[in-house]
């Protein structure tokens, strides 16, 4: 049975383009232009993954509302924000509402499809036992590459996919400085420097929420970041 992806996007050209590429990947795609239209459809049948734009026509925050409503319908369905907005405020708002990831529309379609595939993998495997060869352990940090989940001192750190890939890129070679470009490559996102900075800040904050003493991610000024053991 093919997976079903819902695209909620008010711009018809983008909607069609995304739908085309996802169909070519073998997904079943349902595209909606409006929030209420999408919500009605979700109530009838939940999608396996939702790709939501924040601004939906005149409803500037319609995507946020829809995300909340969909999360209420299902706590597990992966939600991916895809938007032209890239301010920190919007990113944080989106993730707080329970979205699994946040991509700007700068993202290329291969990146997008890779991200979607990863999200599916994570939701598929979240209940399966971890195979040891897919686990990266660095001191208190455990990264489950199959399920794309991070643990610190045995506690789960609720990272988004982007954040997970960034932590993975850093922790794979402790002590090596990762510049912003390679971080972007490893995290499979295309963003500017300051977005990387705010991603790193958010990662630090999420670890610090579990362990206030957390100081493993070093900023190497002028170069990038480093996992420090």
């Amino acid at each position: 049975m093919s997976r079903r992806i819902a695209i909620v996007e008010d711009e018809p050209a983008i909607r069609a383009n995304y739908a085309d590429v996802l169909r070519r990947q073998g997904y079943e795609v349902a595209a909606y232009a409006k929030r209420d239209e999408a919500l009605t459809a979700f109530r009838t049948r939940l999608p396996d993954l939702a790709l939501i734009d924040i601004g939906l026509g005149d409803d500037v925050d319609g995507g946020f509302t829809l995300c909340r409503e969909l999360r209420a319908l299902s706590p597990t369905v992966p939600i991916l924000f895809l938007t032209a907005r890239d301010s920190d405020f919007d990113v944080v708002s989106g993730l707080r509402l329970g979205a699994d990831d946040y991509l700007t529309k700068d993202v290329s379609l291969p990146h997008l499809t890779a991200r979607i595939a990863a999200l599916f993998r994570r939701s598929d495997l979240s209940n399966a036992p971890a195979a040891s060869d897919d686990v990266l352990t660095r001191g208190a940090l455990t990264l489950d590459l199959k399920r794309l989940m991070a643990q610190w001192n045995g506690e789960r750190v609720d990272l988004t996919l982007t954040e997970f890939w960034m932590v993975h890129a850093l922790a794979r070679f402790p002590g090596h400085v990762k510049d912003r470009d390679s971080l972007m490559r490893d995290a499979r996102i295309v963003v500017d420097d300051s977005t990387i900075t705010s991603h790193v800040k958010r990662i630090r904050r999420k670890f610090a929420a579990i362990d206030p003493q957390f100081d493993r991610i070093d900023t190497v000024y002028g170069m990038g970041y480093r996992w420090n053991e």
Partner: protein
């Protein structure tokens, strides 16, 4: 903030209003003139009254030849009459060797009728012998009424203790204690008697011998047939008029003084309120815009219905509109980039889709070119929003204390990796230079400075990065050899969207936001950024000064 264009000798509104109030000081002067006029009228009236009295007495004595018939035994004349002085109050007629006592009694009786006035009446004959005299020049001073109580008494006390001494200084006070000894003597030479004896009704005024009172007198001839046989002289002090004048003046002056006092207090309060409101408006208006001319906060418009309230509202609306415009301008770049992102995504996703179609190789070339252009477009959009995003994020950046020297050293290490064909010379002081701020931002600032320097530097010349401590500031300088800055652009270099790059070559778009970001970050650290030519003239140096953290 420094206020420009301020007059050197500034006079506040309050002082100006009080100055205007001095115009009203002309009122007491007008009052004074009016009272003087009143006094003149009263004097004339007094003289006419006296003349009338003299005429009345004389009329009663006309043609009584027997009064004057007898050769008088000059027992008494005006010359010695003065000895009697003022002891004779009331209707006392000197008894003399006058052959007709009945006539004398008659005169006395006539005069008696006049004695209730405050005048003194003499009847003399041609030899200035006094035939009769009645009345006194001295008035009986009335006792003041019962002491009033409460407010009125307080007011009276003030009047008595403050105002009366003051009036006594400026106004001649009538007194009943004057010398009248020489009255007789002077009477002999008095003009009015001479006039009267010459047959003309004459009035005159003279000072008493001690100069403390003015005596007004009128003399009327007594006719017997065609012959002047004597004269009636009526005298009175001018005290009544003087007292009347003084009273009028005092009342007027007191009222004017009170009105002026109340008026100036009211005006001062009014002016204080006015100036306070104007000052508040000024402070608010100044506080609404910061030193860079950016809007800081809205002005709260006043609700007052007058012109100042109006001014305040108009200020508010001007500032609001200015603020809207500034906001529009500031958001322009980010809104534009946001609006452009969607069509860009359409193009990008279409190209991505197209790439997955089976295409001839020659078509792929165009797709690659289109994607190259798209990449540059996306880069421009990102840079356009960089400054705006930085401005927004500056408000909630957490400050920490860090060593600027270590940060610069680390950054320079990074630059050596990033620009392998460029030499970097770095001078850092041995002591740590701690500043309070955001190390990420300082690194971003240094990135911009170095990227700029690298771009303008002549190939194979070093970029010199110097950090020195100057008093309480850390001074960071980035120098490069290369073309000097164009004249007249130095001040604007740090403004948004100002670029001095020739042409638009290169793969990286230039929007002139690099140095603007440098300025934003320097200002965030309470510092300044300056650009200038190097001392040797063939290079450029940009200096950023930031205050060191206070040691505590």
């Amino acid at each position: 903030m420094e206020r420009v264009g301020r007059a050197r000798f500034a006079l506040g509104i309050r002082a100006q209003l009080l100055l205007v109030l001095t115009v009203f000081l002309v009122i007491p002067f007008l009052g004074w003139s009016y009272v003087r006029e009143l006094e003149r009228v009263l004097r004339d009236a007094q003289e006419r009254t006296l003349a009338g009295t003299a005429q009345a007495v004389a009329t009663a004595l006309h043609d009584r030849a027997r009064l004057f018939d007898v050769t008088p035994v000059a027992l008494e004349s005006l010359a010695n009459e003065r000895d009697a002085g003022e002891s004779s109050a009331g209707a006392e007629t000197e008894q003399r060797a006058v052959p007709h006592p009945g006539a004398v009694a008659e005169v006395a009786q006539i005069l008696q009728g006049m004695s209730r006035t405050t005048a003194r009446i003499w009847v003399v004959d041609r030899n200035l012998d006094v035939l009769a005299r009645t009345g006194s020049l001295h008035r009986v001073v009335a006792q003041s009424g019962p002491e009033p109580d409460g407010l009125e008494s307080a007011w009276r006390r003030i009047e008595r203790s403050v105002l009366h001494p003051f009036y006594a200084l400026v106004l001649a006070q009538p007194t009943e204690e004057f010398a009248d000894e020489s009255a007789g003597a002077t009477l002999r030479e008095a003009r009015e008697i001479a006039g009267a004896l010459a047959g003309i009704l004459t009035t005159d005024r003279r000072l008493t011998s001690d100069g403390r009172a003015v005596i007004v007198s009128a003399a009327h001839p007594i006719w017997v047939g065609d012959e002047v046989r004597g004269a009636v002289i009526v005298e009175e002090t001018a005290n009544a008029v003087l007292a009347e004048r003084n009273r009028a003046f005092e009342r007027l002056f007191t009222i004017v003084l009170a009105a002026l006092l109340v008026g100036s207090v009211a005006l001062t309060i009014f002016a204080s309120r006015l100036t306070a409101r104007v000052r508040k408006l000024r402070d608010d208006a100044e506080a609404a815009i910061d030193a860079q001319g950016r809007m800081k906060g809205a002005l709260a418009g006043s609700l007052a219905g007058d012109e100042i309230g109006d001014l305040s509202r108009s200020f508010k609306s001007v500032l609001d509109r200015l603020s809207q415009y500034a906001g529009y301008r500031e958001n322009m770049a980010s809104r534009l980039s946001h609006e452009l992102r969607t069509p860009l995504a359409v193009v990008r996703s279409s190209l991505d889709n197209l790439r997955q179609q089976p295409l001839p190789d020659e078509s792929r070339v165009y797709i690659e070119r289109a994607q190259g252009g798209l990449g540059r477009l996306a880069e421009i959009l990102t840079r356009m929003t960089e400054a705006t995003r930085l401005e927004q994020s500056l408000s909630d950046v957490e400050r920490e204390r860090f060593d600027l020297g270590a940060l610069v050293t680390a950054c320079v290490e990074g630059y050596r990796l990033a620009f392998p064909h460029r030499t970097f010379t770095c001078q850092i002081p041995g002591e740590p230079l701690r500043i309070d701020g955001a190390p990420d931002l300082v690194a971003q600032m240094l990135d911009k400075l170095v990227a700029n320097a690298h771009e303008f530097a002549t190939p194979d010349t070093p970029i010199v990065i110097t950090l020195v401590r100057a008093a309480d500031t850390a001074r960071l300088t980035v120098e490069n050899e290369g073309p000097p800055l164009p004249q007249g652009m130095r001040e604007q270099l740090f403004d948004s969207m100002v670029s001095v790059r020739p042409g638009s070559g290169g793969d990286v778009p230039h929007l002139g936001l690099g140095l603007y970001i440098v300025r934003l970050i320097a200002e965030f650290h309470a510092g300044t950024a300056r650009a200038g030519d190097r001392n040797d003239g063939n290079g450029v140096m940009v200096t950023v000064s930031m205050p060191l953290a206070r040691a505590d």
